[in-house]
Symmetry: C2
Amino acid sequence: MASRPKATILDIAREAGVSKSTVSLVLQGSDLIRPETALKVRKAIEDVGYVYNRGAANLRKAHSNVIGMVINDLTNPFFAEMAVGMERVFQSAGIVPFIANTAENPVRQEEVLKSLMEQGVAGLIVSPARGTTPGAFRRIETAGLPIVFTMRRLPESRIPVIAPDNHRGAWLATAHLIGKRHRRLAFFGGSSDLVVYHERLGGFREACEALGIAKRDTLVVEGETSRKGGIACLETALAMAEPPTAALCFNDAVAFGVMLALRKRGLEPGADFAVVGFDDVIEAQHYMPALTSVAVDSAGLGERAAHVMLKMIQSRTTRAEDHIGAVNLVVRDSCGPDRRAGMGDAA
Amino acid sequence: MASRPKATILDIAREAGVSKSTVSLVLQGSDLIRPETALKVRKAIEDVGYVYNRGAANLRKAHSNVIGMVINDLTNPFFAEMAVGMERVFQSAGIVPFIANTAENPVRQEEVLKSLMEQGVAGLIVSPARGTTPGAFRRIETAGLPIVFTMRRLPESRIPVIAPDNHRGAWLATAHLIGKRHRRLAFFGGSSDLVVYHERLGGFREACEALGIAKRDTLVVEGETSRKGGIACLETALAMAEPPTAALCFNDAVAFGVMLALRKRGLEPGADFAVVGFDDVIEAQHYMPALTSVAVDSAGLGERAAHVMLKMIQSRTTRAEDHIGAVNLVVRDSCGPDRRAGMGDAA
DNA sequence: TTGATTTATTGGAACGTTCCATTTATAGGC
DNA sequence: GCCTATAAATGGAACGTTCCAATAAATCAA
């Protein structure tokens, strides 16, 4: 019961009547060992309740087989799905990734990265926390540790990025709204300290311009990227003199918030006000009404990132191509045509 | 750029013109070192781009400061919240927990546990995967490693458990339904290989019996603990000769599925069929109609589990009290009275 | 000045592995 | 029988820390 001094390969060696080197070789599955000897050793390993000390091994081997995944928000199903996609790939490569959550806190992120590095990880996949300072990854870069970013990029960093085509996604969604006869459009949620925000907002703006929506007929409301943020955005938008009739939301959480706020005001999402989300989390298809959203295949991007990381480790390089994942607009029930525009047409 | 041989305390010592012992002491913040010397050393640390090798340190120190959290399903917001609760506690204790996902796969769980142990974790918090074999944790127990279970318990294990009061929660929810005049009740979702299932179903059964619902008027449908499972459960239930008018669901995901299936059949959840969930995930309050559910405070239980773990590590013990968390029923809009019963009364 | 005491610093062994260079045992060729 | 080739097993140094015991330097009491 009491934790006796834990067994080492020397204990195994004694138990099996061989040398520590032999035990080491058995542990590594070497074929230099006679099968009967290996069997004997394996039995001893069981008997003494041995657990391998990877720390000691890494001291000699230099390269571990653990990879760190640093996620900005695990409670967001979008990032959770991405993490699971990565895990799938690593599992089949015989690697156990350790996940750490930063909760969008750059300080926490710093601690987490430090700890992971001290642990001697072979590589790092990071979805950076909001407000990450540009220098936060310099230590890692100078250490020559393979690292990739997912979903988010940092302003002037040269670290490879695996992310969806935010610009095109926003463009598609905006074009869809315009195609439904909406003429006064809003962009809801997000804040300008995120590169993703600029990408999505940029797509929105360009689509508006290209498809003949005047700048004065567009409204941009920054806000939290959560349901609460969405609720707030809608409130401010509807308080305007000439409120928009449709909104592209920074992400699905914001969109859900907008739909809730509409309902609370007795308005029907889709019929009375069109809303499009971004990310297409699983909940999107289950909401009432089902949410039209830009699908980014988070799990697929996670897998991709994992593959890139594996290749980097294998080829001992610290460079890799960026990958911009395809997106597509999944049209559901949350954006009918602008009613007033419709009526105007018919009349 | 190319990864030069990484710096060690010896490099620092040379750079700063002191001995490695001095560097080691500085690293540990010892007050045996003259402040000016410490400063000099710290500068050298920066200059050579040193990263601490915890593996090497653990070789001597025996006790690491990393804790493993093994979660059965990170994509389930219920478990994600719990994980975040734990993290909060560990963070303020200066500990970085490593999270690993098992995706309800006992084989994967085995790998993950092995890897965590090899890494030399100081303790383990585990939410066991479904179908975990009873012997899966023997290695850990014999190693004398502190371990606690959260949310789920194993049949004959003596490992401490932090879990909600499932029995009472189910009792409360069932009583609520009966109080709403429902007389034919169902229990939807879950499967009997989970202890939690028996606890919740037991609460349901006892409440029925105590409050005068005959066993033949209750229906139990096993199923996946997901939306899909909920949909399937409702289908089979409504295909019965005398279908139930209300259901307690194994968890919220099942409840969401049931509500979706009702809508698909043109029935209104709440008015036409009452549904109660379990866990009270954040989405519950945002659904239409808002879901009545048994709140278990997953984040709180996570925090509790983390505290227990810290205490175990600190007191070098492997035993701890079980903790059964209080639950309470959050009544929202998803269960009106049985219409027929109501009409019968009025007539 | 000398010896005792305190304050800073240091060398060296130890931790549990891996892996190279050896040694020992086994087999084959003649 | 001896020599060589192959197969199997082994000892020892090294990896980067910590920490004890020891030393060196500074301070103090006499």
